[in-house]
């Protein structure tokens, strides 16, 4: 079948073109096909990366007409010894850890429930996934109103259950609450995504395995821990990877919600980097910052993908 297709393609090739290609090795032809992609990759990804690394050793400012000086590792030294940078890293770690933990927990639970057959199953699935279809900027803006101490629905719900005065606390204005405010909104928006991945995992488990377990008189609890969890684990890990990468570069939602405040409480690394690069215009410094973040994410992601592959091989 393949041969006949190739033969047909060869016959259809005009004699002129065939003559031009004649004499080229398979390897050369392969290069001709691959070259545009490689060129694009080099131009769009690799060259900017190398250029960024180069700039990170300079005092270059993109808004100034002055001579660029190479300053060695000074930018790196400044960043790594700056307490504010570490505070930003901590804020990011807090955001990452709690959003992922809560989203995995709720997402998996929802998927487990949705996976059961009940009336209105499809409708509930659609309703649950609605938040992730919205724009993060819109969600951020929308939640600033929900969190408004005087008119916000969120404060009134909390007041209803706790008896506290609705205007006595401000989710996005208080240092103790603001980090949780952004976790709640991100969880509201992205838990459906984790749920969908978990649902795919749950639906990929053959029913026959559960039937065999039933024959062996395994309890539901045992089935859950020995069949469901191990078989869904690769999907869960994939969801964690996606959410981890997405939330490491979180920007729009948090900027809309808190602007990074109060103080620097919710200033995540991507917000900080944007300020350095495009508000303060410290291009060299921001390049070094970007390189540090790139190495961190690349390193963590590599370790994680290896672990994921090991789980899949089991």
């Amino acid at each position: 079948m393949v041969t006949s297709t190739l033969e047909r393609a060869a016959e259809a090739t005009p004699p002129g073109a065939a003559r031009r290609i004649k004499g080229l090795s398979d390897r050369a032809i392969a290069w001709i096909f691959v070259a545009p992609s490689i060129f694009l990759l080099l131009a769009v990804n690799i060259f900017p990366l190398i250029w960024t690394i180069n700039l990170s050793f300079t005092n270059f400012k993109a808004n100034r007409n002055r001579e660029v000086e190479y300053i060695g590792l000074r930018n790196y030294e400044r960043i790594l010894t700056d307490a504010d940078t570490w505070a930003t890293m901590q804020a990011t770690a807090h955001f990452l850890f709690w959003t992922i933990a809560v989203q995995v927990l709720i997402g998996f639970t929802l998927a487990y429930l949705i996976n059961k057959k009940f009336k209105g199953n499809d409708m509930w699935t659609t309703i649950i996934v609605l938040p992730m279809m919205l724009s993060p900027a819109v969600v951020g803006n929308f939640w600033t109103f929900l969190y408004q101490p005087q008119i916000g629905l969120f404060n009134y719900v909390v007041a209803f259950f706790t008896g506290a005065d609705a205007s006595s606390f401000s989710m996005i204005g208080e240092v103790a609450l603001a980090p949780w405010a952004i976790v709640i909104v991100d969880t509201w928006m992205w838990t459906p995504f984790v749920m969908l991945i978990c649902l795919a995992g749950l639906r990929s488990i053959p029913e026959s395995i559960y039937e065999a377990a039933e024959c062996d008189r395994a309890s539901k609890w045992r089935q859950f821990w020995t069949i469901t969890i191990p078989m869904v684990l690769p999907f869960l890990m994939l969801a964690v990877l996606f959410r981890g990468i997405e939330n490491f570069k979180m920007f729009d939602l948090v900027v809309q919600l808190t602007g990074g405040g109060p103080g620097n409480t919710t200033t995540l690394t991507s917000i900080d980097l944007k300020r350095e690069a495009f508000e303060k215009w410290r291009t060299g410094y921001a390049s070094a910052y970007a390189v540090i973040l790139f190495v961190t994410v690349f390193g963590l992601a590599s370790i994680y993908v290896k672990a994921l592959n090991k789980v899949k091989e089991r």
């Binding site: 969190y147 204005g173 240092v175 620097n264 495009f278 410290r282």
Partner: protein
């Protein structure tokens, strides 16, 4: 119709003696706010007279600097005319974004002596205090206060205030009095609604809290630098008086602002005031025409006062902008025509009538000016006490450092005022050292 328009435009251009033969489509870039709408209206006259057509690119304030400085830094040709913020003037001049206007002013008989001195220094000059002009003062603006005159006049509130503070409830003359009044209104029921003391600037992301806190810092004795030794910051930025000023602003925020006002700037303060949440609001003067015309709080219900004095004097944060010709524009001649037209006294007078704050002396020193609007006298009083933030080419770095330090102390409550200002000295010193100015 189109042909007729073109012919009349060409004739108008010749009659106007502009020397311009080709009708251009000029783009003017500014912030998206009420005065911008007034400028669209005003510019129709320019279109009629010159034959050029005008397009406008307006960006909301929180993104204005980001968007427009990106445009300038990338050498973009979007804007032919830029009404840029006062702090951009250093960068606009040194980085070659704006064209120098001295020769043009001289040729057209435009003199900076005709404009309010503070606006010339604030919007046009770089380096400051030298006769090098990069913009024509376009819109005078300054931080001032709006208050609920109708609430202040209520006999029961008058009596309660007198009992609590031993004086009449009246326009505050000092910052301490202002805090007393804000404290008095905080959480009080007025006309059956719970209200709050004051809406002040607390915004984190762009420039908000800096534009607010400076109104307290200046009046307690904060200085940007040693007046005799430029860029000598220690003991001026973080003087004891400056520390007190910062503590005052935090105390005002803690005691007397509406819940959830931790990230408020111009529009949030307007909303809080117009919806009857607060007795007073800090805001730039540009909002006053809108307040005066508002159905809920306009007319006799609102009054205006200049930033009250503090222990170190009476000052107010300068706002406002100058209009510049962008160096990357291909239509510089037409853009200069616009500035020439805009500088005319009769146009400036119409500008004021439409809600634009003219900086031309002929307009503001007119005998009828002070009584022309309820806020006109307050505008004059405020413009007489202005101080501005750094206008260095690295102003953005200086501004963001101040935003960080001040917000962290005032809103987040981290550290002390002294630590915040010491940190600011460190940040600013690093910036100036990088620039080779220290």
């Amino acid at each position: 119709m189109k042909a007729r328009h073109l012919v009349s435009s060409a004739v108008a251009a010749i009659v106007a003696g502009s020397g311009s033969v080709m009708a251009e489509d000029l783009t003017l870039c500014w912030a998206s706010w009420d005065p911008a709408n007034a400028l669209i209206e005003l510019s129709k006259d320019f279109e009629e007279q010159s034959g050029h057509s005008m397009s406008f690119e307006f960006v909301p304030w929180p993104n204005f600097a980001d968007r427009m400085l990106n445009e300038l830094n990338s050498g973009g040709k979007l804007c032919d005319l830029m009404i840029g913020d006062s702090q951009w003037i250093g960068g606009g001049a040194e980085n070659g974004h704006y064209i120098k206007l001295n020769d043009f002013f001289e040729a057209e008989g435009i003199t900076m002596d005709d404009f309010i001195p503070a606006t010339v220094t604030g919007y046009s000059e770089w380096p400051k205090g030298t006769p090098n002009y990069w913009a024509l003062p376009a819109f005078g603006d300054v931080v001032g206060w709006t208050y609920r005159k109708d609430w202040f006049a209520k006999p029961e509130l008058q009596a309660a205030f007198k009992e609590a503070y031993g004086r009449d409830l009246a326009v505050p003359t000092t910052l301490a009095e202002l805090k007393d009044i804000a404290e008095f209104f905080q959480g009080r029921e007025v006309d059956g609604t719970k209200v709050y003391g004051a809406a002040i600037y607390t915004e984190r992301g762009s420039e908000g809290i800096t534009m607010g806190v400076t109104n307290a810092l200046y009046n307690y004795g904060f200085e940007y630098t040693n007046p005799d030794k430029p860029y000598d910051l220690e003991g001026y930025v973080n003087s004891d008086a400056a520390v007190e000023g910062l503590e005052f602003y935090k105390a005002l925020y803690d005691c007397c602002t509406p819940p959830g006002s931790s990230n408020w700037y111009m529009s949030e303060n307007i909303d809080a005031y117009k919806s009857g949440q607060v007795a007073m609001q800090m805001n730039f003067a540009f909002i006053w025409p809108g307040v005066n015309a508002d159905a809920n709080v306009g007319g006799d219900k609102s009054g205006y006062f200049a930033n009250p004095k503090g222990p170190g004097g009476q000052f107010a944060q300068l706002g406002g902008q100058g209009i510049s010709v962008v160096a990357y524009s291909d239509k510089q001649d037409a853009a200069l025509e616009y500035i020439k037209w805009f500088a005319q006294p009769e146009i400036q007078s119409t500008w004021w009538e439409l809600g634009g704050y003219s900086a031309l002396k002929a307009v503001v020193e007119d005998p009828g000016f002070a009584t022309s609007q309820p806020y006109a006298q307050t505008f004059l009083d405020s413009m007489a006490i202005v101080k501005d933030f750094w206008a260095e080419p690295v102003y953005a770095e200086l501004l963001l450092a101040m935003q960080d330090r001040v917000h962290d102390y005032v809103i987040a409550g981290n550290g002390t005022a002294k630590e915040a200002l010491d940190g600011l000295v460190e940040d600013w010193t690093e910036v100036f050292e990088d620039e080779g100015k220290m």
